[in-house]
Amino acid sequence: MAGRGIRAVVVWAGALALLALFITFGKPLAPWAFDWPRAAELPAARWISALMRWLLNDASFGLFTFRDLTRAVAAVIDLPYRAVLGLLSGGFGALPPLGWLAVTGLAMVIGHRAGGWALAALSGAGFLFIAVFGQWTSAMVTLASILIAVPIGIAGGLALGLAAHRWPGLNRAITPALDLMQTIPVFAYLVPVLILFGFGPVAAVIATVIYAMPPMTRITQLSLSRVPSELRDLGQMVGCSRHQMTWKVMIPSAREGLMVGVNQVIMLSLNMVIIASMIGAGGLGFDVLAALRRLDFGAGLEAGFAIVALAIVLDRISQAMAQDRPGARAGHSYLLVALAVLVLAGGLTMVLPGAQDYPAEARLSTGTFWSDVVRHINVNYFDALEAVKNFFLLNLMIPFKRFLIGLPWLGVAALLALAGWRLGGARLAALSGGLVVVIAATGLWEEAMTTVYLCGIAVVIAMLIGLPIGVLAAERDSLWPGLKLVIDTLQTLPSFVYLMPAVMLFRVGDFTALLAVVAYAIAPAIRYTALGLQGVDARLVEAGRAMGCTRGQILWRIKLRLALPEILLGLNQTIMFALSMLVITALVGTRDLGQEVYIALTKADAGRGLVAGMCVAFIAIIADRLIQGAARRARARLGLET
């Protein structure tokens, strides 16, 4: 063991020394290893743009053209969307939409069905909040598009997952595609969607579905493969047909996992609300985006809170539904109550106009208050805030950025290939080295390194804060439930919400982006650390105590060592969260790949956006595979996995 440890140190020291030598003296010798020669750049962006043009203008399936296909898809989505929108917001001709009282009442009935009185109260409070703060109309537009996107996302993910489960060949084919879809930033495929489906709510629903479907697909595959083999044998033994096997054995047995997927689809759809408004979703997302653009923090914050209220209500309801409660009251009695609510609320509307539209005089607004707070802080503490910002920028961020951008791509590729080789053999080495070369070949090296620098610093800070909190929570059992609620709630917030306070205090720039990314990425760092420590075999802790270890020794010598694989996975998730947030911070003026994607979006340049998006995905995939490899090795060494 010791011999291997020494060998690893020697290998790494040698590799780093070689790299340092190369950086110092290599530039005049091999300038091409530092800056990818322009002549050899991959014109991937042009290829993609050409492909899009071809799809749009020339592609045909014989009977119908590609264009007809996109139009048909749009029409299929448009119809139910208009129906739901009419019901919630616009009304049908002379018929008014459901009033706020009716919708809030219905939400309470659904809440009660899923989780009893507590959830009914929460649902009611959430919708009341939206009404009181005057966000009702926008919120219903948003809710309408969620109500359309979520079922499509669930059905699509389920179908794809089932198909992948049945045909192993398809499974092998879609796994890398899913990896890519989950790591590629949303902005990148907004452009193609925009080009194919035009600006409007339908395009927004499609982008939302594309974003929310991969996790459902993956969770479906996973839950189906986790159905005990005995249940499958049972299905065979009683002579199930294929159809019966799927619908009577597999899906009911995988139900719990599938409901987690449903919850994921809902949360991701809500997360998309603001981004989708860039291609015409309207509603709350549009309000937030517009407020952010004119730096009206108060208005943005209120619309943001309304999204959070929606998110919390939908999240809790779907989670409660996932918890299987046998013998829950029969569905038809709820149907009756729901009808009664509708009739009652409708009747009230006749006599009381306030039951239809929430009365304006009873509305509250904290918008000006928040704007005043921000103004106050900026007037009185401007110097202090500037000093903090400049300190970090000058001493940490800028030097690190310069260092990374100065690195030769060849050296980085070689180093990551070495890491891949040590952690997972030749295949991983080829993957990590190869992807670095591809990134360099697209000519986006500098932007990529800027992404790595921001992401790297953010992850380090998030881990530095998250690890101790996680350890503390795991050591003090009384802390964990409260902390868990906080993390869960933080994770239901759409990522844009994190951007707002940071922008308010520090305006635009890398430091603001960094703060938002850290705030967004800290939750998994805490969660995985705490769960990892709690998951350590209690017998080992007991053995440690029996040997007379102090609390510190138990933590340091037993728990942290055994929890290492989990903590590594937490690191992995932190990086993924940081990368996804980083792209959104392009709105506050970073100069990384995210900005490249964002510019492409504003120019509707599909090729440019997709290429930059792919680069982000490649960075994510390299980090993911290397850390997974390290976690696997750690598990194997601990005998937790063979």
């Binding site: 005990p228 005995e230 249940l231 044998d233 049972l234 065979q236 033994m237 009683v238 002579g239 199930c240 047909s241 019966q244 009577k248 054995v249 009911p252 047995s253 139900r255 299987d324 046998p326």
Partner: protein
């Protein structure tokens, strides 16, 4: 030296059944991407290591078995011996790599998917180690599930499920969900379900291994009771030798995918074929495996009032002789087969 046992009566002599219901001929199961080719390349004599170096695992090796109608046939082996794979080959849940499996003389491996499904629906039942109850269905719905799959009308299958639930002693729990039941109760549901379609061939894959020892004993008694009523042909898998000798008419002992020895419990204990079998039987005393029919004499004098079924082992019969001098041995239909006297039993018990 134990004294030689008297010769069994000709009518009860165990031996090859007149018409075997299920026959295995040279059945192989090799796991791996090129199983059939690797098997034919290496040939039947190859060692396990030779398979492993080619990336394949021989789970079942050249198994020949004959299982007679109405017999309780126990396949015993430690974990990894291939017994679960073998039982899944018998019902073609796992496709064997080579060999023949004849059910009433017809080769299962040559059957179409549809025919096989039909066979499983109507003529085979299976009980699983971890119960394999569907979590979203009630007890009654779980038991009725095989009938639902067959498309039996609701009222009929509910009726049948109720009777099956009663048969395993779970009346009143029809509307409970599996997670509300204890392990023993869950397996009772599993048993009721496997019997719902009234199969003739009944597979039990380590049905009691996941249960506590006390419950296990209780379930074994229950199983013996059920079989005395139902008279199925049974293939019973276990890793517990005590369970095997308690329940079996005949036992096949498996090691590394191959059947080492097949015989009655008594055969195995008296004449272990290999050291491996001897290892299992060493701690087993003869009275535990010798059936009462082996020591009984012809009917002499008036019938005593105490009776024992023919398949009772001596060790289990012994306590009865504390209060009785002579006991009548009866067959399944209650007819007298012979009389067993205390002196013979005592002599055998003392020898151990």
């Amino acid at each position: 030296m134990p004294r030689p046992l008297p010769e069994p009566m000709p009518a009860l002599k165990p031996g090859p059944m007149p018409e075997p219901m299920l026959v295995c001929r040279d059945v192989w199961k090799v796991f791996g991407p090129q199983a059939a080719r690797v098997l034919s390349d290496l040939g039947p004599e190859a060692s396990a290591d030779q398979f492993v170096t080619k990336g394949h695992i021989p789970a079942v090796r050249a198994v020949d078995l004959e299982i007679g109608a109405g017999e309780i046939f126990v396949i015993m082996g430690l974990s990894g011996s291939g017994k679960s794979t073998l039982v899944r080959c018998l019902s073609r849940l796992i496709e064997p790599t080579a060999g023949e499996i004849l059910f009433h003389g017809e080769n299962l491996l040559a059957m179409s998917e549809d025919r096989m499904r039909d066979l499983r629906r109507h003529r085979m039942g299976m009980v699983f180690q971890h119960f394999a109850l569907l979590p979203h269905l009630t007890v009654a719905q779980n038991v009725a599930f095989p009938l639902e799959v067959q498309g039996v009308a609701r009222s009929e299958r509910e009726d049948r499920a109720r009777r099956m639930v009663a048969l395993v002693g779970l009346q009143g729990r029809e509307d409970a969900f599996p997670r509300q039941l204890s392990g023993g109760q869950q397996q009772r549901v599993g048993i009721a379900r496997s019997l719902a379609a009234d199969p003739e061939l009944w597979f039990l894959d380590e049905p009691f291994s996941a249960l506590d020892p006390l419950i296990r004993r209780e379930m074994q008694d229950e199983f013996i009771r059920l079989q005395s009523v139902l008279k199925k042909t049974i293939v019973f898998i276990t890793h517990d030798f005590d369970e095997a000798i308690r329940l079996a008419d005949r036992i096949a002992i498996m090691k590394d995918g191959a059947v080492v020895q097949v015989g009655t419990p008594e055969d195995l204990v008296m004449n272990p074929a290999t050291d491996y079998v001897a290892e299992f039987t060493r701690a087993v005393t003869r009275p535990k495996v010798v059936p009462v029919t082996r020591l009984m004499g012809p009917v002499t004098g008036p019938d005593p009032d105490a009776t024992l079924p023919a398949r009772t082992r001596l060790a289990e019969a012994a306590p009865l002789f504390l209060t009785h001098e002579t006991v009548r041995i009866t067959d399944e239909d209650g007819r007298t087969l012979g009389h067993l006297h205390r002196a013979d039993v005592v002599a055998m018990m003392l020898e151990g």
